[in-house]
């Protein structure tokens, strides 16, 4: 087989792409992963809190570089610019793991390469090759044509490859969130332990909408901890950002005046400022919006590119990796049968639709919270029902 030809090309060496590459290579397939960054993971931003459910499908992930296990949730409710009420829930096992995307994804990419996948970095897939209605490969920004019978698009929420292939549409601005993420570092792990009260993820809710103008979907200021550093941020729907002309610098300046923040996080030093949208509602009413396709002749779309973000928690890394494994396995079966048609690759959709992915991307509970906007007590109860109560039952 010529070097320009592969069994499977994966576009995007992020969480999903690297998992797909590893699984494919382990099955003996000639696999290429194409990544636009020079180092996998260096263009990725996330919360994060990786749910441990992913270990059931991919147990080898337990060797990955995790920063901190998260075993509790601290929920603060703000009123008139201060913390009014706090609810703490602890669990006997981790509910999530704090990670940094760059080292984690770099580790994932190493695993894919060790398994035998070829990784081509600093390369943009600018278009797909289509022949007689089948996707047959990609064109790179160097003008190369790289061919394959099966393409897996793992290029994130923009899904440019899926759009070029004619099976995805641009996500609507009211279905995608963005927000500035700040990374802070504390002098020591113990300082962060003290600020958080343990291995806790921390949420600051604003039920009355005093800090952030209420929109269709209520959000929280989140503290996502790593070992001695953490991500802080709040997302808002992009259409709402435009409509309300929200200034994030003002918003965060007001938040950092909260006494609780000054007291507990006064030692935190700003280390990074960045942003990355997430398709948190890309899946709601997906079929009505006509953006439910995740496969076609010679192509499957995984992860954020397919809109696989859990609508309640906002987690998308685990669904990306689980869908990656499914797509890789279906690709291998398709190649064994010599049939990369949509009729065969439909098995990928059947698999994810009968998995936890389908349940998580159709969880409307976050909209239930917003339904109570204006009624603080009801909203607080709803928030605890959506986020804290499921964790409380875990601890029983």
């Amino acid at each position: 087989m010529a070097e320009q030809e592969y069994d499977v090309i994966v576009v995007g060496a992020s969480f999903g792409g690297c998992v797909a590459g590893k699984v494919l290579a382990e099955k003996g397939l000639k696999t290429l992963i194409v990544e636009r960054a020079s180092v996998p993971g260096e263009k990725i931003v996330s919360g994060t809190g990786l749910p441990p459910t992913v270990f059931l499908e991919l147990p080898w992930l337990m060797e990955a570089p995790f920063e901190r296990p998260i075993t509790g949730l601290v929920t603060h409710f703000l009123k008139r610019g201060q913390v009014q009420t706090t609810v703490e829930v602890k669990c006997p096992m981790p509910i999530a793991f704090g990670i940094y995307c760059r080292p984690f994804i770099s580790w994932l990419a190493e695993q894919a390469v060790k398994a035998g996948a070829k990784l081509m970095t600093s390369t943009v897939a600018t278009d797909v090759i289509k022949e007689r209605g089948f996707v047959k490969g990609i064109v790179t920004d160097r003008g190369e044509e790289l061919r394959c019978p099966v393409l897996i698009a793992a290029d994130g929420m923009w899904s440019l490859i899926g759009i070029k292939a004619g099976i995805r549409k641009k996500v609507a601005a009211e279905d995608i969130m963005n927000g500035i993420w700040l990374d802070f570092i504390m002098p020591s792990k113990e300082d962060l332990d003290q600020a958080l009260g343990g291995d806790n993820l921390m949420m600051f809710w604003d039920p009355a909408g005093e800090m952030l103008p209420p929109h269709g979907i209520v959000g929280y200021f989140g503290v996502f901890p790593c070992e001695k550093s953490f991500h802080f941020g709040i997302g808002t729907v992009i259409s709402h950002l435009a409509e309300k002309r929200i200034n994030y610098d003002d918003l965060y300046s007001r938040f950092f005046q909260i006494d609780y923040w000054k007291k507990h996080f006064g030692k935190a030093k700003l280390r990074s400022r960045m942003w990355r949208p997430y398709p948190i509602y890309a899946s709601l009413d997906r079929e009505q919006k006509g953006n439910d396709r995740t496969f076609g002749n010679g192509i499957m779309v995984i992860g954020d590119a397919a809109g696989f973000e859990a609508t309640s928690s906002g987690a998308g890394i685990h669904t990306a990796m689980i869908s990656a494994k499914m797509a890789a396995e279906v690709a291998a079966d398709a190649l064994a049968e010599g049939d990369p048609s949509a009729a065969f690759l439909k098995r990928y959709e059947e698999r994810w639709k009968s998995s936890t992915i389908a349940r998580e991307i159709s969880d409307y509970s976050r909209k239930d919270i917003s339904r109570h906007a204006g009624n603080e007590e009801q909203m607080k109860r709803s928030i605890l029902e959506v986020y804290a109560m499921p964790l409380m039952t875990l601890s029983l």
Binding site: R36, A37, S38, V39, G41, E42, K43, I44, V45, S46, Y100, C101, R102, T121, S122, T123, V124, T126, T140, D141, R142, W158, L160, K170, V171, A172, A173, I176, N178, I180, W181, D183, S229, I238, S239, L241, A242, R245, I246, Y248, L270, R271, S272, R273, M274, W275, R276, P277
Partner: protein, 88 residues
């Protein structure tokens, strides 16, 4: 050559090419793309939106998502260029 841009915790590699293109014919000058761009990369000049800087572009595509006139063509910077984020 890697430059230190205005976003702490990041680096920026130049020669990205013009990866965000705004059509003056389609642009209505509404300014939504200016508002949603956290990097202040877009300004309104002569009633039309133009990209004025890439050094603070996080390649988020918010401008592309918000444009109701489909005036913005969003693609990726040349491979290996643009923002590099250490603590994402």
């Amino acid at each position: 050559m890697v430059k230190k841009p205005k976003l702490p915790g990041t680096e920026w590699v130049p020669d990205t090419g013009d990866f965000i293109k705004i059509s003056p014919d389609l642009c209505s000058g509404c300014g939504d793309c200016v508002v949603v761009c956290f990097g202040d990369c877009i300004k309104i000049r002569g009633g039309k939106a133009i990209v004025v800087a890439y050094e603070t572009c996080c390649e988020c595509g918010a401008c592309w998502f918000i444009c109701s006139e489909n005036a913005i063509e969003f693609s990726w910077p040349k491979g290996g260029t643009g923002i590099k984020i250490e603590y994402g």
